[in-house]
């Protein structure tokens, strides 16, 4: 009967410890990072004019066959200015196709921004209405998609890219994707 008594007194303690553990984990979660349901699915179809030549249309086809980074940005977005240097650096050092999606932005302001700060992108699609971004599940800028050679979304970085997220997540992932067959 002694055992029953022991259980009787330790059970509330165990339950208490479990609740603390769950709440402790909850503190570390970031509710601003909403997981995308589009991970491991193909990037939803799009066809948009490019920033420097509006007659040229960029579509999913242009992203096939190579690892692609798609960075959603805008000149009115402060966090985009914050990550811009990191983007310039990775564009120089990594062999990826780097597409920019200029989101709900003024075209002239965007051109000026790139002239002043440098242009990390190989191609820039202009989403003036923001509808393509909605199709991609974008809910804030900046967001960066990592696509594999088949045009599948393999990861989405929410918020600016910094040294930490680059070294720990993006760089190893890109290296891995580059080794995958087309």
């Amino acid at each position: 009967m002694n055992l029953l008594k022991k259980i009787y007194f330790t059970l509330p303690l165990i339950i208490f410890a479990m609740i603390i553990l769950i709440l402790w984990r909850g503190l570390k979660l970031n509710p601003a990072q909403v997981p995308s349901p589009l991970i491991n699915k193909p990037l939803p179809h799009f066809a948009l004019p490019t920033l420097f030549d509006e007659k040229k249309i960029v579509t999913n086809e242009d992203l096939m066959g190579h690892v692609t980074l798609v960075n959603v940005w805008a000149t009115w977005c402060e966090a985009c200015a914050e990550e811009h240097n990191a983007l310039l650096e990775l564009a120089q050092n990594e062999h990826v196709f780097f597409l920019g999606l200029d989101y709900k932005d003024d075209v002239d302001a965007a051109k000026k921004w790139l002239a002043q700060r440098g242009n990390p992108y190989q191609m820039i699609a202009v989403d003036y209405a923001g509808t393509v971004a909605i199709d991609w599940g974008v809910y804030g800028t900046p967001e960066t998609f990592v696509l594999d050679k088949k045009g599948m979304i393999r990861y989405k970085q929410i918020g600016p890219i910094d040294t930490d997220s680059w070294e720990k997540k993006l760089k190893p992932l890109i290296a891995q994707l580059r080794n995958e067959p087309i």
Binding site: M1, K5, P37, T131, G137, Y139
Partner: protein, 139 residues
């Protein structure tokens, strides 16, 4: 008299007129569907507001999408599926009953059952202890 008239005019809730201007529907049924949909969907930018309340640019865009979809004759389910496809279940204020949310839906029931079991034990215990006071020996 003038003051009373001014006060009366100031009391007219102007926002009631404003909402209809932006999203004019042909029938009140559609109007109600729009109101219901936007109030049960979360704005992902300011997460404690729904799409009806939020002034975030994305919320404005999504309201516009919902408006257009209703105009095109889509059902509530189609519109909700459209948004969940893009933003995930997180956009729903009422989470669906899936594996990840079992704890959320069943948790209260489990706690209730545990509570009832504890209560039964307690009642039994007090019943026996009032009958014979040497309860401690029995445990």
């Amino acid at each position: 008299m003038k003051k009373i008239i001014i006060i009366f005019i100031l009391c007219i809730p102007l926002h009631l007129f404003a909402a209809d201007d932006f999203y004019p529907f042909e029938t009140p049924v559609e109007q109600n569907r729009f109101a219901a949909l936007t109030s049960q969907l979360r704005c992902l930018v300011c997460q404690n507001q729904n799409l009806a309340e939020s002034n975030a640019a994305l919320a404005v865009d999504l309201r516009q999408q919902i408006y257009q979809h209703i105009q095109q004759g889509q059902s509530d389910k189609q519109i909700i599926d459209y948004l969940v496809e893009r933003y995930g279940n997180f956009i729903l204020y009422r989470p669906p009953f899936v594996a990840a949310t079992w704890g959320l839906w069943l948790g209260p029931l489990v706690f209730l059952l545990v509570g009832i079991v504890c209560l039964l034990f307690y009642i039994r215990k007090t019943a026996t202890s009032t009958r014979s006071n040497n309860f401690e020996d029995k445990v």
